[in-house]
Symmetry: C2
Subunit: 212 residues, 2 copies
């Protein structure tokens, strides 16, 4: 298909497609004449993935590029790919500055070990969790890292389920794409559901119509 | 305290404090001479809240302003404030365009009713969830809205717990601040914990050291 058809099939405007081509997110089409190129269903699918990573995953363009490169590299195993996606999804991966921040990170690490979780020292989510703990303390809540225990139990159950559904079904590209999409899409869904549930329980407890 | 001391106490650089003052996020200090102003502990606390909403909540400046206004308005009840915070936290609140998007939203609404949740028609999280469902389908997964059931159950339990811990303890400003901080900080923590748990279960299942 031509670029105009690719745009129609994917819902992505032509200038945006050209931007993705320039940025190396999308492989060039097959040359069909001087100024035209032919695109395929693979391009439609890849555009969908790019949009999902940018929108649902709120990734930066350069992080999308990193994830797509890992996805396209047959040498990168599933576990590494997941790590790459997590990195790209970000979090405050900056090293802790103050002693209080270092303390929070050390507590998070002990907490994670007690849970029996085997995670990389470079996992940005460790820093995100330490930052959350540190923020609670900054606000004067007597926050022990164990406040996260109910969340950790829930996360453990969901993740066990999610990882167990990833199988060798179909070609590698599909499996890894499914894993990345699943990580991003179900994360957005979980956050949305928690907000809806909060609204429901808040309405029950504090009642009253909502003002805007 | 002077602005330099406020900066030291809060860790926020002076130009950033001045920006927040100009943007109306931070109340002016009490005049102390021609060019100086006196700030208080309340300013330190407010700066912390602004940073938390911007960083952990990834809110835009204008959304932070909306939340702070609601927080400072004694007429706004807790339930409304939570709604305001959820709105500011965002999500794709755009109206569904295609029939497929409308279908996804209608299914989400039925799903939410079946859960017995009472949520506003304007809740942006409804759209986020519909978008997640729609994205799964775009990728060709035979996604029924019930794929979200385990997530909804978990969200319901966590939210019930969270809302039940909000009490009338202390002054209103503290309670509402606690609610907003709790929403934002525990959301970040939950997302981080799910990623860590995924990494752990992925390591167990797919093994192998992580490459970078």
């Amino acid at each position: 298909m031509r670029i105009s058809e690719l745009s129609a099939a994917s819902g992505v405007p032509i200038p945006t497609i050209k931007f993705y081509l320039r940025e190396g997110l999308l492989a060039p089409g097959v040359k069909a004449g001087q100024t035209q190129a032919e695109y395929s269903e693979a391009h439609v699918r890849r555009l969908r993935l790019i949009r999902t990573l940018l929108e649902a995953g709120r990734m930066r363009v350069r992080d999308v590029r990193t994830v797509l490169r890992a996805l396209d590299d047959d040498e990168v195993g599933f576990h590494d790919l997941l790590g790459t996606a997590h990195h790209a999804l970000g979090g405050s991966a900056t090293a802790p500055g103050t002693p209080e921040e270092r303390d929070a990170l050390a507590e998070v690490d002990r907490f994670v070990s007690r849970l029996g979780w085997n995670v990389s020292d470079e996992a940005p989510a460790r820093h995100t969790l330490a930052r959350a703990l540190f923020t609670l303390r900054e606000f004067g809540y007597p926050a022990d890292v164990r406040v996260f225990e109910p969340y950790a139990r829930v996360a453990d159950r969901l993740a066990a389920r999610e990882i167990s559904t990833i199988s060798g079904r179909g070609p590698r590209a599909d499996a890894v794409e499914a894993a990345v999409v699943g990580t991003v899409v179900f994360e957005a869904a979980l956050v949305a559901l928690r907000r809806l549930a909060q609204e429901h329980h808040s309405a029950r407890r504090f009642g009253g119509r909502r003002r805007r």
